[in-house]
């Protein structure tokens, strides 16, 4: 274990103002998309970020990609705060942190050959002359399991799985230390999904790149991630090494997420916790523990006091009054 993690997220909040009117606009309230979260990603490891829509996982990944400024808190890459970077330092950051998004149909320019799309990062960073760039593009295509001659093809000539490979090749072009994978396999078919997951793991071993895997499918996370962070309404409710989490799920929300996973084997469904109702609006999150309105174990203090995230076993932290011991 190294002393300094690759990326550190420290007490980050992101509030979006909800306004009405254009000229004399008034602020109606704040959407607390992300509310005081902290975690770290170590070099060469995968962190899975799990939660339902509106939990803040996309906002978190956008802040890590430096596309969004946190309202409070800071994010550090190799010990350097990433927000406020400018010029060459910002360009260097963008080279180190790359992304692959969910939809392989919209992430590539349909009017560019995929070779050109992959070369884009190399051209922007002026890494070498034409021949060098071309050689690198061919090398990248081979690394993701495509043929070098496919560099001449346009995105529409590829299947969804192949496009996702192209997107990965483009992300790898600048030798990143971290790749944000936002639902990288959920748009793909089952058999293609397995190919892509195997490829991502191979690339990780070969290039020592870290992944932030934003996903909703727990089985995918289990196969890919070393650590898991579970979010609910802008808060981290549970975080743990993947193995520990899958052996011992603690937070009632995480437990509900786990039992909502449809086990493909009939008759093997264990205890079931079906959540009533839906995720409350982040504009007016519930008081105390944000999950208390849907929690099967809610106690009177849950609506008054916000539970702190604390370790139940070393490295396994839960934000729930059930585990306060008091």
């Amino acid at each position: 274990m190294t002393a300094e993690p690759l990326l550190r997220v420290e007490g980050v909040r992101k509030h979006f103002a909800l306004t009405k009117g254009i000229l004399f606009s008034r602020t109606l309230g704040h959407i607390k998309a992300v509310d005081d979260i902290s975690f770290e990603i170590r070099a060469g490891e995968t962190l899975g970020l799990v939660g339902e829509s509106g939990c803040g996982k996309t906002t978190t990944s956008r802040m890590i990609l430096n596309l969004e400024e946190p309202t409070e808190g800071r994010i550090l890459l190799e010990g350097t705060p990433i927000h406020g970077l400018q010029g060459a330092a910002l360009a260097a950051y963008r080279a180190k942190v790359q992304a692959v998004f969910q939809d392989p149909w919209s992430s590539l320019n349909p009017r560019m050959t995929v070779g050109r799309s992959i070369a884009e990062a190399l051209i922007v960073n002026r890494s070498g002359d034409r021949a060098q760039i071309e050689a690198r593009v061919h090398e990248l295509l081979q690394q993701v399991g495509l043929r070098p001659d496919q560099a001449q093809h346009y995105p529409h000539e590829f299947s969804g799985g192949q496009r996702q490979r192209v997107a990965l090749a483009a992300a790898l072009a600048s030798h990143p230390r971290l790749i944000v994978l936002d639902e990288p396999v959920s748009a793909l078919d089952v058999s293609i999904r397995a190919q892509m997951m195997n490829l991502l793991k191979d690339i990780q071993t070969q290039h020592d790149v870290a992944y932030l895997l934003v996903a909703h499918d727990l089985a995918t996370v289990r196969h890919m991630a070393d650590h898991v962070v579970v979010m609910y309404l802008g808060k981290v409710v549970e975080q743990a090494p993947t193995v520990a989490l899958f052996e011992d799920v603690r937070h009632p929300y995480t437990r509900a997420l786990f039992s909502a996973v449809l086990v493909a084997w009939p008759g093997r469904q264990q205890e079931e916790s079906v959540l009533a109702g839906e995720v409350p609006s982040p504009l007016a999150p519930p008081s105390g523990c944000r999950f208390h309105t849907r929690c099967p174990h809610a106690m009177p203090r849950c609506s008054r006091e916000e539970p702190m995230l604390r370790d139940v076993t070393p490295g396994h932290a839960v934000a729930c009054h059930l585990f306060d011991g008091g």
Partner: protein
């Protein structure tokens, strides 16, 4: 699990062929599909994108995209009556009352400029004259059946004022308002969050138990199949390659494609290793091989697999497979 219902057949599809006729050639998207559905049964139809599962559903509803797609062969017997012979007007009376459908995206199933009440009214009235107060009472009752809280208030709301899960419930309420014997559900939970998905599946199960309708459940997710279905049919390149009781298919899949597909799904338990993959791509539907369509990707391919499409073999009670290897010599 629930025992397989023993009711009589309500829907029987025989040798259905629906092709797209394009200038470039003929796309054989549904190419010889046969299955049957009994009263009160849930049959899962699984397969990857482009295998023809959604087009099969649209063929049953007679709602094919205008122009290029045509059902050129086969029978769709709904209560013994071939609905492929019905006129468009007759079909309008059949849809909603005898066979109905729920689509993946509730956003596109509902009209954004009408209130929920108006859209339900359209489904409930269907040409009959009824007093407005009575219709609204029926509409509220329909929402209550799909477990929407405060239905009277919801009737005046527009789709954008509701969450995705709620909208999908409204779509469900509209689909079952005519008490159809068969409901086709085409990936109804794919757009929903996991906890909401579970709520919706449980609701569908309850509604099915109450009404006794049969459900054709189209999905690509084996978890949904395990939770919802009595039997499952696996489709590949326009045909059903294996069909049988869910437990049997999961525990002892016979077709190499089914086996590979089940093995490639990441699991929640057991060892974490490399996932099994299926190499290659499905064949082009414009240029299908004359033999088995999975032959080019099959690890157990033999000479005869390339020569002729396999015969359908019965391997167990209600369990059939299209595979030469299983057929033996």
């Amino acid at each position: 699990m629930t025992p397989a219902p023993s009711g009589e057949t309500i829907l029987e599809v025989r040798d259905l062929h629906t092709h797209f006729f394009l200038r470039r050639g003929v796309v054989r998207a549904v190419d010889g599909v046969s299955f049957s559905l009994r009263r009160g049964e849930v049959l899962g139809l699984v397969g990857e994108s482009g295998c023809g599962k959604s087009l099969t559903a649209l063929s049953l509803m007679r709602l094919l995209p205008k122009g290029s797609a045509r059902t050129i062969k086969g029978e769709v017997l709904l209560d013994g009556d071939n609905i492929l012979d019905r006129t468009p007007d007759e079909m309008r009376a059949i849809r909603g009352r005898r066979i109905s459908m729920v689509l993946q995206d509730p956003q596109t199933s509902l009209n954004p400029v009408f209130t929920i009440g108006e859209q339900l009214r359209e489904a409930i009235v269907r040409g009959y004259r009824r007093a407005r107060s009575e219709v609204m009472k029926l509409a509220a009752a329909a929402l209550r059946r799909v477990e929407i809280a405060a239905p009277e208030q919801r009737l005046g709301q527009y789709p954008h004022q509701m969450s995705g899960g709620m909208k999908q419930r409204v779509v469900g309420a509209i689909a079952i308002s005519g008490a159809p014997g068969v409901l086709i559900a085409d990936e109804p939970t794919t757009a929903l969050d996991v906890t909401i998905q579970l709520q919706y599946l449980k609701l569908l199960k309850r509604l099915q138990a109450d009404t006794g309708m049969a459900i054709l459940f189209i999905t690509h997710d084996f978890g949904v199949v395990g939770r919802m279905c009595d039997r499952v049919a696996v489709m590949y390149a326009g045909r059903i390659v294996e069909c049988g009781p869910v437990q049997q298919i999961f525990e002892a899949p016979q077709h190499p494609y089914t086996r590979a597909l089940i093995a490639s799904v990441p699991k929640m338990t057991g060892p974490i290793g490399r996932l099994t993959t299926i190499e290659g791509q499905p064949p082009s539907l414009m240029d299908l091989p004359k033999g088995c369509r999975f032959a080019s990707r099959c690890p157990q391919v033999e000479a005869r697999c390339l020569d002729a499409y396999p015969v359908t073999v019965r391997v167990g009670d209600q369990h059939t497979v299209d595979c030469w290897k299983v057929a033996g010599s």
